[in-house]
Symmetry: C2
Subunit: 486 residues, 2 copies
């Protein structure tokens, strides 16, 4: 039987008289709202964590719902309290890694149809299991009367959630609380598709690899992707959530309507990155909210960067999950790097490639944002995760993209369409192709110029995206929702 | 033959050395852009003028295109230079007043169908003439080679226009300049209908008097209004503009595409006022940009307001055009006012009603914003022009609405739907109904509470609407357009 395991790490330190009087001042002068956060694991948490820290700095108190199988989301934090729900299965390394390994295998296949079908089946099955895990976790919570009573009595001001999974949506409805999304995906699709009119003639389904200018055949392809997305939602996702709704909510409610009824959608894109499309009044764009000016590098890294002289430095990172590339590809990439006059910093965890040149520094972790903002950086070899793409845009560094899975191709494709990135499928990489591609990004000035233009456009906003997000979250608290915007 | 009559009132004063050095500082430090403004007459100019003053204060130089028949738009201003185009006919008092008088007659008819048809015919004919006047003015300009060469050589950064008439749209295309709208209406319809997906099932055609929640029959009515709007545009408006395009533009271009191609739409509504609806990335909402905190009243007016004691004051104004009501209605209204314990300030130009009470002060003009912001004001009797409605919302004063024509019914209806206004057709006014309506707005607290709620929502923005508008106009100047948003 699940039970509450609340983490009260903050509470002890709060009893100091000075802190108490500060808290009193805060309670009377600032908002000091109470926010219940239902996050999603992995890179989604990296984003949510930034938002949580900013909310904490604004004087709000945050409670994060996690599970005993939580992976990135820790129980102890100076920024939030946590509630840990006991579960049998979670989105942990055990769940994610084998799927990623399989995806990587499929990606390396060369024929596009042979490649496409197993990939979709694999994705379908993984998505279905993932939503199943979420529904189990929510059911555990709803069955735990003590927990639900505690949550009810806590008088939260709103639920903040990443709606790519439905946990926060169900919780907010149960607790009758205003609902704010930190969103790019909802359970059914890319976020906009669930909310705003989306004519398929000029709005590419994210995942289709299409742009906003499509030929007739591309529109057909787009329609097929849309149908696939609908199929996936209707037959593999919706039923599980609807069952929870039917069992625990007094009045019959359609789960998709709950998804659509959120007060505020803080969308993790902007229109420098995303193709222009219809939107709705309760969508606030906070694309690039995670970006910030570069801080000075640690001395050893700074020395390495400076040693590159006029040639500058290339960064390479394939994100959180794929530090380990198949060794033959890693060998090819290392050999290509070795032929360049540039220095290279490569985030790489697996075996050291035998072809590695003296110019290449392997690291287990790197201060990516600070490096991207360094004037010596010439290019970024990236997998196309949202964070990396946004940081590259913010700092104006052109990209050589190696998309692996999920939305990575689409993210990179948006840069390619603006002439700011060159793309490679992992199946097409060998030493020569990789070297040639890298040379092109380094020496054809349009890549850098276009990326710098995107950077100027992105930075030219009346308000920082993170400040805008915080303002609107507080707006929902002040007005107990944002019904007039939806 | 038309010719340039540029007004250079600013130039003389600019030769002073201090001014010159300030200008130099400005040229190196701030934007100092050059903006060509193609405004629309009447209350539209009142709005545009506020934007122009703000742009002037930001250091931009403004050139306004007007005609020899211009009415509200003066040739001399400390804020702008002007170019005066000689025309035979303009939107002056001569053109507008007889139409308004006829409209008023029709409005007073009681049967809704007898009322509707002549009203529409009258509107059609007036609109057609008005667009004809615009096209003649543009043709005059295009035929004047010296003028067009002067405009070309002036190297403006953008054209700012009110697109309810097409003059600025044609000028911007001719001069190949970025285009910014100060907009609620375009030549074809309410602005959003030309730009964003507008499902007629939940988006009421402005003019239909419908809300965003419609029964089946109301949806049918909405569709009919939409068709009427399309009919009007296609058969009475488009041809005139298309003829200008076909004659003067080298490459064939569809006029509606030019309308849609503006870089930025500064929309004179927000979603506290407007029903929620799909929008587009290049729409910036600046509803209420004309509102500002109240300044102290002149002493005599302050004394009159204070003399109202606990009962407070009622304001009445029917806008710029209708200072003169039919005398029988004015008598009824005056008699109703006379029975109230409140004091009344009434903007009234015609004959003094014989039934006028001691509590009622007739004025030819009043500082409306400063009065609406005064704590003694209890209610506002208004015709529903955008400026008055926005000011009432900003200051949280409930409204008794007497819509006369154009968008006035729809403006007031949006307040009524939020429980912040009561509406009367002018045909239904007599002493008793008016008195009863007024008592209701004064004594039923929900009117005031709802209007105060709208006021709180409207004011709770991260940035003032006028500042937002200026930011985005300057954005278009900095980036020579905003292609990525459309």
């Amino acid at each position: 039987m699940p039970s509450i395991m609340a983490n009260h790490s903050l509470r002890g330190s709060l009893s100091h008289p000075l802190v108490l009087s500060l808290l009193f001042l805060c309670a009377s002068d600032c908002l000091g709202g109470k926010i219940l956060v239902a996050p999603v694991e992995g890179s989604h948490w990296v984003n949510m964590d930034i938002l949580i820290r900013a909310l904490h700095n604004q004087g709000h108190s945050i409670t994060v719902v996690r599970s005993t199988k939580s992976w990135y989301i820790k129980a102890d934090s100076p920024y939030y309290d946590s509630i840990t729900v006991p579960v049998d299965k979670g989105f942990d390394e055990e769940f994610v890694k084998p799927i990623l390994a399989q995806l990587m295998e499929v990606e390396r296949g060369s024929s596009s149809l042979i490649h496409f079908l197993p990939l979709q089946l694999l994705m379908f099955s993984a998505m279905s299991s993932a939503h199943d895990i979420t529904c189990h976790m929510v059911t555990s919570m709803f069955e735990d009367r003590a927990l639900m009573q505690h949550l009810n009595e806590s008088q939260f001001d709103l639920v903040l959630t990443d709606p790519s999974f439905g946990e926060g949506i169900l919780l907010a409805h149960y607790l009758k609380l205003p609902l704010v999304y930190n969103v790019r995906w909802v359970t059914s699709s890319e976020g906009h598709f669930a909310l705003a009119p989306s004519p398929l003639s000029y709005i590419p389904v994210t995942g289709s690899g299409l742009s906003d200018k499509m030929t007739f055949l591309q529109r057909v392809k787009n329609m097929l992707f849309y149908l696939l997305m609908q199929f996936q939602y209707r037959f593999l996702v919706k039923a599980q959530y609807q069952a929870v709704c039917d069992k625990y909510f007094e009045h019959k409610v359609d789960f998709l309507e709950l998804v659509q009824a959120a007060d505020l959608w803080l969308m993790r894109v902007d229109f420098v990155f995303e193709f222009p499309r219809p939107t709705m009044p309760n969508v606030v764009y906070m694309g690039g909210f995670q970006c910030k000016p570069a801080k000075p590098l640690p001395q050893d890294l700074e020395d390495f960067v400076q040693s590159s002289g006029e040639h500058g430095v290339i960064l390479m990172s394939l994100g959180t999950f794929v530090s380990e590339l198949p060794s033959d590809i890693a060998e090819d990439i290392a050999a290509a790097f070795a032929e360049l006059p540039q220095k290279v910093i490569w985030r790489h965890v697996g075996e050291r490639p035998s072809t590695l040149g003296n110019n290449t520094l392997l690291v287990k972790w790197m201060p990516q944002n600070d490096l991207l903002g360094h004037p010596k950086i010439r290019a970024f070899v990236a997998h196309g995760g949202t964070n990396g793409v946004q940081e590259a845009m913010y700092h104006g560094v052109p990209v050589l993209g190696i998309p692996l899975f999920f939305d990575q191709y689409d993210n990179l494709f948006r840069l390619k369409e603006r002439g700011a990135a060159k793309l490679f499928s992992i199946a097409a990489i060998n030493k020569n192709t990789f070297l040639q591609g890298l040379q092109e990004v380094l020496h054809e000035p349009s890549y850098r110029e276009n990326m710098q233009r995107l950077s100027r456009l992105h930075r030219d906003q009346p308000m920082k995206p993170l400040d805008r997000a915080i303002f609107w979250i507080e707006f929902v608290m002040r007005h107990k929702g944002a019904a007039h915007l939806r």
